[in-house]
């Protein structure tokens, strides 16, 4: 077996395993750290798919940004330590049974479908192509995302400061 294959299985296991841990974890902070492992595993899978830039973005944005935001959210909305961080789980059994069935169905579909796979040579790096695409064909979505981000930041700031005024 090749090293990449081993790595693939390792990171798949890491991804799925910590995701399942999230479902059964009672502690929200533990769940958040499990999410970190999931995100890292996904980033590793991106690397295995030759998407290095996306992988780095995944780590930078998800792990370095969103996850920290989530952790801050947890810390700000609960009062401190372990005991207060328990979360309720409802309908866990029926939902997990149903979702297992759904997953089985999806996997069945995936396995029985013949995908039009084109085996391309390993790219040398995606960053040049991405840059060109972004500034040519995708210039409009790029700009729109920029505006969206700006709006989101302003909106979030506004909401956060509003909270202060109410207090």
């Amino acid at each position: 077996m090749e090293l990449t294959t081993l790595l693939f299985y390792f990171f798949s296991l890491l991804t799925i395993g910590s995701a399942i841990f999230m479902v059964f974890s009672k502690n929200i902070v533990h769940a958040a750290f499990a999410l970190m492992f999931t995100l890292l595993g996904v980033a590793a899978l991106y690397v295995l798919l030759f998407a290095d830039f996306i992988a780095a973005t995944q780590i930078l944005v998800y792990v370095g940004g969103i996850l920290i935001l989530i952790l801050f959210g947890v810390m700000l909305t609960t009062k401190g330590f372990t005991d207060n961080l328990k979360t309720l789980t409802t309908n866990l059994r029926p939902v997990s049974v149903v979702m297992t069935l759904v997953a089985a169905g999806m996997i069945y579909v995936l396995l029985t479908t013949t995908w039009p796979v084109a085996e391309i040579a390993e790219p040398e790096g995606t960053i040049t192509g991405l840059g060109t695409l972004l500034l040519k064909e995708y210039i409009l979505p790029f700009q729109v995302t920029g505006v969206l981000l700006l709006v989101a930041i302003i909106g979030a700031l506004l909401m956060a400061t509003k909270v202060k005024h109410q207090q």
Partner: protein, 111 residues
């Protein structure tokens, strides 16, 4: 038969990645459905977005369309960031108003 299975296992292809994506998606949905904590639901949504991204990248890797999948994933990540920022601001507002972030108790229609 066995050889085929080993062969199939030892060469991770599109299907493998899609399967992982599917599993992640299901787990994300489970989280969203079972948890009553808003932040946990947010985390479930992040999982779902990740599974979608994984699918995009996988298709982009194994099919003729090369980098468009990457770009879509990139935009998705940016969207997720914006979504998380706004969602957490909302969660903080909710917490300030209701002193809880249990989604079952936030059932007032009128502010």
């Amino acid at each position: 038969m066995e050889n085929e299975l080993i062969q199939w296992l030892s060469q991770p292809g599109l299907t493998h990645y899609l399967m992982i994506g599917a599993l992640l998606f299901c787990i994300g949905i489970t989280l969203v459905l079972t948890r009553r904590n808003v932040i946990m639901i947010l985390m479930g949504i992040e999982l779902i977005l990740n599974s979608v991204n994984l699918n995009f990248i996988a298709f982009s890797r194994f099919s003729v369309i090369t980098l468009d999948g990457h770009l879509t994933a990139l935009f998705l990540i940016i969207l997720a960031a914006a979504e998380a920022a706004v969602a957490l601001a909302i969660v903080l507002n909710i917490y300030n108003r209701f002193k809880t972030i249990d989604i079952d108790e936030i059932s007032l229609l009128k502010g």
